[in-house]
């Protein structure tokens, strides 16, 4: 019998071992790979939910790997913030592993075992980044995540290999900057444990080396999350990746990086250092404004549905970074809530794109003709996702935007408020344009058999059911936002703010 105290390790170890099991199973029977992956993800999701409930009821969990006490051993620390992120990551992993079956069979028929092996390693890396309480351990897991992502992106067709290569260069620079920052912290304190660093750092806050360390780590993490001036790698990499890869990577990679940024700002350093000693937070909010406006404007110029969404991800990263750096309760609550909401919205959108690619073999605007008639359920889910991206009240997207707006008012940073409203208006234009394209037959089809192509031709159930669950989830999260804030989000605000 496994004792309850051991549950946190299962979140990470099960997908990790499953990766090896899948690569062995793939040698004998390829059809076992996907069910094994689903099984591993469901165990991981179960463990993550159990951990979240435990954290809500009993407070922070400290898990010492191998029984070595910190700061010598590596420690897993699970508080309300990362318990929530763990559930998000394992939930997305679970949903996409069910969804990916048909899509992978169509797009990568000869690489099924390899795909699922890397898939499980990628989820392991993301979960590990989230759960760990050790700064160097985080670097290693960051690189595990990155390496698997490069490979999963580059197996796509067309420009995928080149975009994957550019991502590799930028991702390596980002991770190296992070490592360099951690090195500076180690020179000054002699510790790598986050809680220990938090204890040791305050006496050194005046030091230039600590300042540089903070800056290096921030730049590294910003590169990883595609914060605006450093976003160049993201749109092509996510557009040309296979559908299942982008469904997994697009909702999670940027959000987990935002989580890492929050962890570094408040758990390794402290709000006092971040907002008073560092004193650049207004500049960072301005950068976030540029990210939101720039991402939205680039999205407007696209003629490709998937590429448009990738630019919206860049705008959403601006939301979260800006929210955290507003340096007040509402801003941080909005940013943390947006980690949850945005990962669900982005997942919903990319699942829709995956279905469109599966049915029409492309994600250009031309492929969208008459989709409301052909795939009513898919497009209903798309409409919910679009309303949430815009921020219409019953859906999840509204509530985090509301907190962010309140935070902007509290901080007297009106430019952030204007950027949020501007981006919502741009989203209205973008999504209603898509809805219009999808209501009428596309131009290229108008001469041909317009009647024949309007029969109901819905996606297979293994793709449709996960999508509908996520779309319903957007409404459920929206309705229960109050409960989520009371039980989870309000505990994520750091002490001393």
């Amino acid at each position: 019998m496994i004792s309850a105290a051991q549950i946190p390790i299962f979140i990470v170890i099960v997908p990790f071992l499953a990766a090896f099991l899948i690569s062995i199973a793939g040698l004998f029977k390829e059809k076992y790979c996907q069910p094994l992956s689903v099984l591993a993800m469901s165990v991981s999701l179960y463990a993550a939910v159990a951990t979240l409930i435990h954290v809500i009821n009993h407070g922070v969990i400290h898990y010492h790997l191998g029984g070595w006490p910190p700061p010598i051993g590596i420690e897993y620390v699970i508080d309300h913030l990362n318990a929530m992120v763990l559930v998000i990551v394992s939930f997305v992993g679970f949903i996409v592993s069910i969804y990916s079956k048909k899509s992978v069979e169509q797009e990568l028929p000869d690489k099924i075992p390899q795909f699922y092996t890397l898939y499980n390693l990628l989820v392991t890396g993301l979960l590990g980044i989230t759960i760990t309480g050790d700064a160097f351990n985080l670097y290693v897991l960051l690189e595990i995540t990155a390496l698997t992502t490069y490979a999963l992106i580059a197996v796509g067709r067309g420009r995928a290999a080149l975009s994957g290569f550019n991502y590799l260069i930028m991702g390596t620079i980002g991770a190296s900057f992070y490592l360099l920052g951690v090195g500076h912290l180690y020179i000054m304190t002699g510790s790598l444990n986050m809680a220990d660093l938090h204890q040791l750092l305050p006496s050194l806050y005046g030091s230039g080396a600590i300042f540089i360390a903070f800056l290096l780590i921030l730049i590294g993490v910003w590169l990883k999350m595609a914060f605006f001036p450093m976003h160049g790698w993201l749109p092509n990499a996510y557009t040309y990746a296979p559908s299942s890869t982008s469904c997994l990577v697009a909702p999670l990679m940027t959000k987990v990086s935002v989580y890492v940024m929050i962890r570094i700002m408040f758990s390794v350093f402290s709000p006092k250092f971040t907002f008073q000693e560092f004193s650049f937070h207004e500049i960072v909010v301005w950068l976030a404004v540029v990210a939101i406006v720039g991402g939205s404007l680039f999205a407007l110029t696209q003629k490709d549905f998937k590429k448009m969404l990738t630019y919206l991800i860049i705008a959403e990263v601006g939301y979260m970074v800006g929210g955290v750096w507003l340096a007040n309760h509402n801003g941080i609550m909005g940013a943390v809530l947006h980690i949850l909401n945005d990962s669900m919205m982005t997942l919903c959108m990319f699942l829709v794109v995956g279905i469109i690619v599966y049915k029409t073999k492309g994600h250009h605007f031309d492929n969208l003709g008459s989709l409301y008639k052909k795939m009513p359920f898919t497009m209903a889910a798309f409409t919910i996702g679009a309303l949430s991206m815009i921020g219409v009240p019953p859906t999840a997207g509204f509530f985090s935007k509301w907190y962010l707006i309140l935070g902007a008012i509290d901080a007297n940073q009106w430019e952030f408020l204007v950027a949020l409203i501007f981006s919502s208006l741009v989203n209205v234009v973008l999504f209603f344009r898509i809805i219009e394209f999808a209501y009428y037959p596309s131009f290229s089809n108008q001469h041909g058999d317009a009647h024949g192509s309007e029969k109901i031709d819905e996606a297979p159930a293994s793709m449709l059911v996960p999508l509908l669950i996520v779309a319903a989830g957007l409404l459920v999260i929206g309705v229960f936002t109050g409960k989520i804030v009371t039980y989870i989000i309000q505990y994520t605000i750091p002490n001393g703010l």
Binding site: F136, A154, R159, T172
Partner: protein, 123 residues
């Protein structure tokens, strides 16, 4: 001048890192970019290794100094950064492997590894 001599290890790593960074950003040939990446990562590894070293210290095996009585940490170099860098070396080698595999795929696809020629073909 004293600043340079006293902290020469830092200057070396900064110098190497900038060489690598330059190659990664500016070079047109994808393989040269990868070489730059390797130099960049190696510079950081050197930085870590150099911070563990001490003047007049020996390798951190306690038995070597057992006869001299009390164990003084100042007699041993710090092994932790070196151990961390073993992991970082593994990471950088696997990044190199993935990068070379990607270059191979790009070469099969476009018949060249010069970035401007590839972009020309895409246009």
């Amino acid at each position: 001048m004293e600043l340079i001599l006293a902290k020469y290890n830092y200057w070396i790593y900064v110098f190497l890192m900038m060489i690598g960074f330059y190659a990664m950003i500016v070079k047109n040939n994808l393989v040269k970019k990868i070489i730059g990446m390797s130099i960049f990562q190696t510079a950081i590894i050197l930085f870590y290794v150099s911070i563990g070293a001490k003047k007049g210290a020996t390798i951190p095996i306690i038995e070597h100094h057992a006869h001299s009585g009390a164990i003084d940490p100042a007699h041993y170099i710090n092994p932790l950064p070196h151990v961390l860098m073993l992991t970082a070396i593994v990471v950088s080698v696997s990044t190199l492997g993935v990068a070379l595999a990607l270059i191979l795929k790009i070469y099969h696809q476009y018949g060249t590894v010069e970035e401007d020629e590839i972009l020309e073909q895409i246009q």
